[in-house]
């Protein structure tokens, strides 16, 4: 069985001001597989991440739950952190206690605390099933295709070409220039279109 580490974030008072984090911590200790629980004021901060890395090494943690904000915000941050600690970056899961809990249930702290426990339990259950994943590498053909030879396509092609790469512009009409070539002067400076 994996040794799961759970890191509960206060996010200052954003989470801690509504959710009773120590109470959540107490409950989380009883979840199956949880070997370590830690509270942090700001888990994403430099000291917060260092504490996490240290805990992972010290307590021989295999997989991590960070209960803080949205994974859309900080999942990459914590993936890097656990990688620093020697874990596979895909062995981390987040419980969204801020956007999905404390911020939207601010007036009912007891229910928010119950929900927070549920969200962490959910994340712990998933983490227990996670497996390490490995990125593969594919070669890159350093040649770009631009479809459309109007001002947008020309500008893009010129910028890529200026950086030293080959570009092919495919244009449907017999000439490049597109709409811009049809225009007379353009606002606001009234210089010419072609």
């Amino acid at each position: 069985m994996k040794r799961i580490g759970v890191f509960l974030c206060w996010c200052g008072s954003n989470i801690g001001g509504v959710v009773d984090v120590p109470k959540v911590a107490e409950a989380v200790r009883t979840f199956p597989g949880v070997a370590f629980v830690q509270e942090n004021k700001y888990t994403c901060s430099e000291p917060g991440q260092q504490a996490m890395v240290q805990a992972i090494k010290e307590h021989k943690i295999d997989a991590v739950v960070v209960a803080s904000c949205s994974p859309r915000m900080h999942l990459p941050t914590f993936q890097k952190a656990v990688e620093t600690a020697g874990l596979n970056p895909y062995m981390v899961e987040m419980a969204n206690l801020r956007e999905h809990c404390s911020w939207v249930h601010a007036s009912e702290p007891e229910n928010a605390t119950t929900k927070a426990m549920d969200l962490v339990r959910k994340a712990v259950a998933k983490v227990a099933k996670l497996e390490p994943l490995f990125e593969s590498y594919i070669p890159v053909t350093k040649r770009a295709l631009v479809i459309g030879g109007g001002i947008a396509g020309i500008q893009t092609a010129l910028d890529i070409a200026d950086s030293g790469h080959q570009v092919v512009i495919v244009e449907k009409e017999a000439t490049i220039g597109g709409r811009m070539a049809q225009l007379d002067k353009t606002f606001p400076t009234l210089d010419c279109g072609a």
Binding site: S70, M73, N96, R98, H100, W103, V104, A106, N111, K115
Partner: protein, 73 residues
């Protein structure tokens, strides 16, 4: 206990949401950022796309006693 006998005055349905990471999960995040208060009985599972939601998951949720399932994507 039949439905009639049950006291429904304080009843809140337990809802499980499946939210696409790119739209509805992001929407739920915006909901948080905008502090839109709503019942605390909703639990959201993040999926990479609503297309990932296997009907099996929905049935399992009902088997486990959930009152409603929301698939957002």
């Amino acid at each position: 206990m039949s439905v009639k006998e049950k006291d429904l005055s304080n009843w809140q349905p337990k809802i499980l949401g499946f939210a696409c990471n790119w739209c509805s999960y992001a929407g739920a995040d915006v909901c948080g950022v905008s502090r839109f208060q709503h019942p605390s009985t909703v639990r959201v599972v993040r999926v990479p796309c609503s297309g990932r939601v296997n009907p099996h998951f929905v049935l399992r949720a009902f088997q486990r006693g959930i009152d409603g399932v929301l698939v957002g994507g």
